[in-house]
């Protein structure tokens, strides 16, 4: 296997991480909604924490996207 093919396969593998981050982001918002419907009065006060959790989950997915795009541009 030459380096270019290996880089492209690596880029594809790194893109799995973006999908994993989608699970994480869905989990953050899903859990928030679940508990917000149980106690709607407390939901508004927790919006800052919701977005902190979203930002943390999203950052890790974006990092894997970054690695994928770096590998892809190196191969292309």
């Amino acid at each position: 296997m030459d380096v270019q093919a290996a880089s492209l396969i690596g880029a594809g593998l790194a893109a799995i991480g973006a999908g994993m981050a989608a699970i994480g982001v869905g989990n953050v918002f899903g859990s928030f909604l679940e508990s917000a419907l149980r106690n709607p009065a407390a939901a508004d006060g927790q919006q800052g924490r919701l977005f902190i959790g979203f930002a943390a989950a999203e950052l890790l997915g974006l990092l894997s996207f970054l690695i994928a795009i770096l590998l892809y541009l190196k191969a292309a």
């Binding site: 800052g48 977005f51 902190i52 999203e58 990092l63 795009i69 541009l73």
Partner: protein, 259 residues
């Protein structure tokens, strides 16, 4: 595969020179498209704020829009920092509005009129500078208010004595990673969104090049997806500006109140 119709999704991020300004040593300092869009965003923000800062007892629509933004940010600063945070509200507000304006005008379809928008926040140099600005304000405020006591940030309350060799190291690393994560998040989110839009746009162009049947079969679903993704990107543009401001306010809270 027709190669001449290939669309390069990275071309949109190229910084182009508009005119030369001056030289610093051997380095050329030129006015670029990036600088032009920053100036445009600054002027639009200035006009938006001037138009709304009227202090009328019964506010008009414009004043309500401006007060909505200022109230949003000052409410966030109050919730996260407390009354001490009022001093830093202007900085976080300018940061939020500037990033929001750059993100949003980068998405606007000015290309229809031949003026291709450039998303300034899709460059690590810009977001990195904004993140370093926030981080240095946190450092300056922290050391100015607490002196060397600021280092107690790295030892959270209730740390057991037998973990004192490990916890400060972890806290220090997570503290030092902050500017990178702040800058990377904004830069990659904007870049990814714009690449995605260009990839779907290239599906339409390549589909049309392959013939009318393929053009319709591929083009219509791609177009429908692009409309949806444009809406999503508008949401992301707002969320990323908000997250940048929110994290800056949290880091300022660490520097002011020493958790």
């Amino acid at each position: 595969m027709a190669d001449q119709g290939k669309v390069d999704p990275m071309h949109q991020f190229e910084v182009q020179k508009m005119f030369d300004m001056f030289h610093v040593g051997n380095h050329e300092v030129a006015f670029t498209t990036s600088a032009m869009w920053m100036v445009i965003a600054g002027l639009l923000l200035w006009a938006f704020m001037i138009g709304g800062m009227k202090r009328q007892l019964v506010p008009g629509r414009w004043q309500v829009a401006v007060e909505g933004f200022t109230g949003f940010i000052s409410g966030m600063m109050n919730a996260n920092i407390g009354p001490e945070g009022r001093k830093y509200t202007p900085y976080v507000f300018s940061l939020f509005m500037f990033i929001l304006m750059l993100n949003v005008i980068g998405l606007m379809p000015f290309g229809l009129f031949g003026l291709h928008p450039f998303t300034v926040t899709s460059h690590f140099a810009i977001t990195g500078f904004l993140a370093i600005l926030s981080f240095s304000i946190v450092l300056i405020v922290g050391f100015w208010r607490h002196g060397l006591h600021f280092f107690s940030l790295f030892v959270p309350h209730g740390t057991p004595w037998w973990l004192l060799w490990l916890i400060p190291v972890i806290e220090l690393v997570s503290f030092l990673v902050r500017p990178f994560s702040l800058a990377l998040r904004l830069f990659v989110a904007m870049t990814a969104g714009h690449v995605l839009m260009k990839v779907f746009a290239s599906f339409i162009i390549d589909g049309i090049a392959a013939g009318p049947a393929v053009g319709l079969g591929v083009g219509i679903p791609s177009m429908a997806l692009m409309v949806g993704i444009s809406g999503l990107e508008l949401l992301v543009a707002g969320i990323q500006a908000y997250v940048f401001a929110l994290l800056t306010s949290l880091y300022l809270n660490d520097a002011i109140n020493l958790h």
